[in-house]
Symmetry: C2
C-alpha cells in the first residue's frame, strides 16, 4: 500500500480488559481513517489508571502522527483520560466555567439538575480545543503537541460515532486537501474465494501497479481497496477508472462500497423492487432474519420467517412431506426446495429463501460432512426455484455465518437478474 | 481488587487493524487469566511488521510479568512473530529439524505433502520450549526472559483456544500453587440493574471487605466476582462461603458461573426438564432463536420459531386477530399474549416465548417510546401465560440484545419455578 499519515487508537476502560467486551469503537475509527488513507499502525486497550494511560499515550506519540483516545471522559473518579493526557503532555488542567454552564444547560434541557460531579467534564487541558458532543454530556478535546494531533472522545459508541463525524472527519478532510494526501476506496465482494478475486483482478494490477490495490479477506466477505496519492483531482483521475476497472473485473459479486453491509444492500434492493422476502431457516436458527432486521425500516422488505429446526416443524409449518424427510434427510435438495416453496405459499411475499445444513460439530455423515448446506430461493413466480449446495469450511459459528452470507447473496443476485430482465437490452452486465 | 501477577496481550496481524475484525482471542485469554487471579493490564494489536512487533513486546516486558502473543506463526513471509520475538530478546532463531519432521508427519496424516515454506514454522527461538498444537500446523513457543514469561500462540481462534488449555492453563495452575496466588470466581446475573445488585450484596461486602468483590456490568448481564489470596486451601476457605453468600444475596437472578452463557444455561435446563420451546419474535427478528441454536445439540430444546415482522404474518401464522392488532397495536400485551398462545398451539412444544417491541429508531409514539417491549411466555399448561412489559434504554442493537436476554431469562425463571413445584418442600429458594 502507498504510505501515509500514521494513527494509533487508545481505548481507555477497565471493562474493555474483561472477558465480554471488546473495543468496537476502533472499527468505526479504522473505517474513517482508511477512507482518508491514514494508516492505523497500532491499537491498544488500557484500564482506568492515570499513570498507565499517560505512559501509553507518551509511547504512542513517539510512533504516530495522530492519536485517538476513546473513553474515560465521564464524570466519576474512574474517568482519568483528561488528567492522564495533561500529565503525559506536561500541561495543566482547568475547569472552564463556560463549559460548566453548557453542561448545566444540557441537563436542564432534559429537565434534570446537573450533579456537581459533572463539573469534571468541563476540565480543559491547557491549549486544547473543546469538542461539542451532540449525544451526551461529555465534551471531547482536540490538541496539537510537537506536531502530533490528539483527539479525546467519549467511549459510549453512539456518542463516539457522532463526534467522529462532527470533529474527526472534517479534520481528516482538511488534511486530505494537501498535495500528498492518500485516498482509499473500497469495493465489497460476497461469497468468492480470495484466490478467485486475485485471479479476476490480475490485469488491473498490471495497469495500476500492485501497491495501489489491496485484497482483504474474511470468510464470505472480501474487501478490495484502491489507493491513490496526490491532490483531490489527481486522486480522482487515478481512482475513478481504477475502481471502475476493478468492478468490471470482479463482476456482479461486488455488492457494495465502503462500509455497506450485505444485509443493507439486500434490503435496499428489495425495497427498490417493491418485493418482500420470507425466510425458512434450519441450521442458521434465525440468523438470516436477524441480519435482515438489523437495519431500521426492515418491515418494508422482510415479511417474517420460519425457524424450523425439527422435522416436525418442517412438516407442520412448511408442508414438507414426512416421506421426503425420511427418504432424503433434512439436509437435501428436496427438503430445502420444499421448505422454500412452503414458506412462499404460506406468506404474502414475493421471494422465499430456505437453508438446511450441518453446522456441526455433530450431525455429519460420510456423504454429508460438517459444513454441507443446501439453499433454495423460491419466487417470484410460483414455480421458480433455484437450488444450490455448498460445503463450507470452519466451525459451527463460521458455517452459520457463511450460510447467512450466501443466502443473502442469492437474494441479491436474484434481484439483480430480475432488474436486468426488466431493463433487457441495457448495456450493463448484471448477471454472473 | 486484590493485586497479583500482571499480564499483557499482544495480538499480531494487520487484518486486526482493519474495519471488520477484532481480536476476540483476548476474551478467552482474559477469562482464563481472571480465573487464576492474574491482572490483565493492557492489550494491543499490531500489524505484521517485525520491528513494530519487537518494539511493542519490549515495551510490554517492562510492564507485565506475563506477555501473551497471538498470531503471526504461520508459514508465510507475513508471519513475523517468531523473528520479532527473537529480535526483541536479542536471541537467535534456528530451524529445528525434529520439528520439521513433526510438521511433515502432520501433513502426511492428512494425506498431504508439507510445502517447503512450512519449515519456517519449525524455527525455534534460542532457549524456547516448543508447544504442540493439536489443531493446526503452527507450534507455539514458551520462553522465560529476565523473570518474565512469554507465550507465542497461533492466531486462529480454534488453535489458540486449544493451546491455551494445553499449555497456558497448566502453567497458571502451577503458579497458583504458590502461597500468594490469587483466585477469582464469577457469578453471572441476568436482567438486574447494577445498582440493584450492589444493594443486594451490601452485607456481603461488610463481611468480606470491599476489595474482595467486584461488580462488572454490561447491558442485561452482570458479573459478580469474588477474589481471595493464599494457598489453595486458604482460598477455598474464603471463597466457598463468600460465593454462597453472594448467591443467596442476589437470589435467582444468578444464572450461572464463570463463562457460562445465558442461552447455554437455558438449553441445559430445558433438556433436563425434557421440554422444548418455540419462539415468536417481532422486534428481535430471530435473535432469540439464533442464540438458542448457538450451542451444539440445540435441536433437543428448540423446536423452532416464527419471525412475524408484519401484521399479516402475526395473523396468518400465529392466529392473532386483525381487530386485536388494530385496537391495541402490535406492541401490546394483548398481541404478544396471542402470539405466544398461537405459537404454542401450532407446535409440539411445552413452552412458547413471544416478544413484540419498538427497537427504534422509528416507530415510537407518545405512549410507546423507543425501547418499549412486551413479552409473553405461554405454557406448559394450555392456559398458563405470563406477561411482562419493559422500557429498555439504548439504541436499536442494545434494545434487541436486552430483549433477547430478558426473553431467555423468562424461560429460565419459568423452568426454575416448575422445578421448585416438582420438589415442593425443598428448602432452597428458587423463585424471585
Amino acid at each position: 500500500m502507498i504510505c501515509t499519515m500514521k494513527a494509533a487508537i487508545l481505548a481507555v476502560g477497565s471493562e474493555l480488559l474483561g472477558t465480554e467486551r471488546l473495543d468496537t469503537n476502533s472499527l468505526a475509527l479504522a473505517a474513517l481513517l482508511e477512507r482518508f488513507g491514514v494508516d492505523l499502525i497500532v491499537k491498544s486497550v488500557i484500564g482506568d489508571d492515570e499513570q498507565a494511560i499517560a505512559d501509553e499515550l507518551t509511547a504512542r506519540l513517539q510512533q504516530a502522527d495522530l492519536v485517538l483516545l476513546t473513553g474515560g471522559l465521564g464524570p466519576t473518579e474512574d474517568d482519568r483520560t483528561r488528567a492522564a493526557t495533561a500529565r503525559a503532555l506536561g500541561r495543566g488542567l482547568q475547569v472552564d466555567e463556560a463549559w460548566v454552564e453548557h453542561i448545566r444547560k444540557l441537563f436542564a434541557s432534559f429537565g434534570r439538575v446537573m450533579p456537581e460531579v459533572n463539573r469534571r467534564q468541563a476540565e480543559v487541558i491547557d491549549g486544547a480545543e473543546m469538542l461539542e458532543n451532540r449525544r451526551g454530556s461529555a465534551p471531547g478535546q482536540k490538541l496539537e503537541h510537537e506536531g502530533r494531533h490528539i483527539f479525546l472522545f467519549p467511549g459510549v459508541p453512539r456518542e463516539m460515532k457522532g463526534m467522529m463525524v462532527d470533529h474527526l472527519e472534517p479534520f481528516l478532510a482538511a488534511q486530505s486537501k494537501s498535495e500528498s494526501a492518500v485516498e482509499r476506496r473500497t469495493l465489497k465482494v460476497a461469497c468468492l474465494p480470495e484466490s478467485e478475486v486475485e485471479q479476476r483482478i490480475k490485469e488491473v494490477y498490471t495497469t495500476y501497479g500492485r501497491d495501489a490495490i489491496a485484497v482483504l479477506a474474511s470468510p464470505g466477505d472480501i474487501r478490495v481497496q484502491g489507493s491513490a496519492k496526490g491532490t483531490a483531482e489527481q486522486r480522482a483521475e487515478i481512482l475513478d477508472p481504477m475502481m471502475a476497472d476493478l468492478r468490471r473485473a470482479i463482476g456482479p459479486a461486488v455488492y457494495g462500497e465502503g462500509e455497506q453491509q450485505l444485509e443493507e444492500v439486500v434490503g435496499e434492493l428489495l425495497q427498490a423492487a417493491s418485493m418482500r422476502v420470507v425466510t425458512a431457516e434450519s441450521c442458521t436458527g434465525g440468523l438470516i432474519a436477524e441480519r435482515l432486521t438489523r437495519t431500521p425500516g426492515s418491515s418494508a422488505w422482510l415479511e417474517g420467517g420460519f425457524v424450523t429446526y425439527s422435522y416436525g416443524l418442517k412438516t407442520l409449518l412448511l408442508g414438507v412431506k414426512t416421506e421426503t424427510l425420511e427418504t432424503w434427510g433434512a439436509v437435501s435438495e428436496q427438503v430445502v426446495v420444499d421448505m422454500a416453496r412452503g414458506a412462499l405459499s404460506r406468506c404474502r411475499s414475493e421471494l422465499a429463501i430456505a437453508v438446511s445444513g450441518i453446522a456441526g460439530p455433530g450431525g455429519a455423515t460420510d456423504e454429508k460432512p460438517v459444513g454441507t448446506v443446501h439453499f433454495a430461493l423460491a419466487g417470484p413466480g410460483e414455480h421458480e426455484v433455484e437450488h444450490r449446495q455448498v460445503i463450507f469450511p470452519g466451525d459451527r459459528e463460521q458455517v452459520r455465518r457463511m450460510t447467512s452470507q450466501m443466502a443473502l447473496d442469492m437474494i441479491r443476485r436474484k434481484l439483480l437478474d430480475l432488474g436486468a430482465e426488466l431493463s433487457a437490452g441495457s448495456a450493463e452486465e448484471t448477471s454472473p
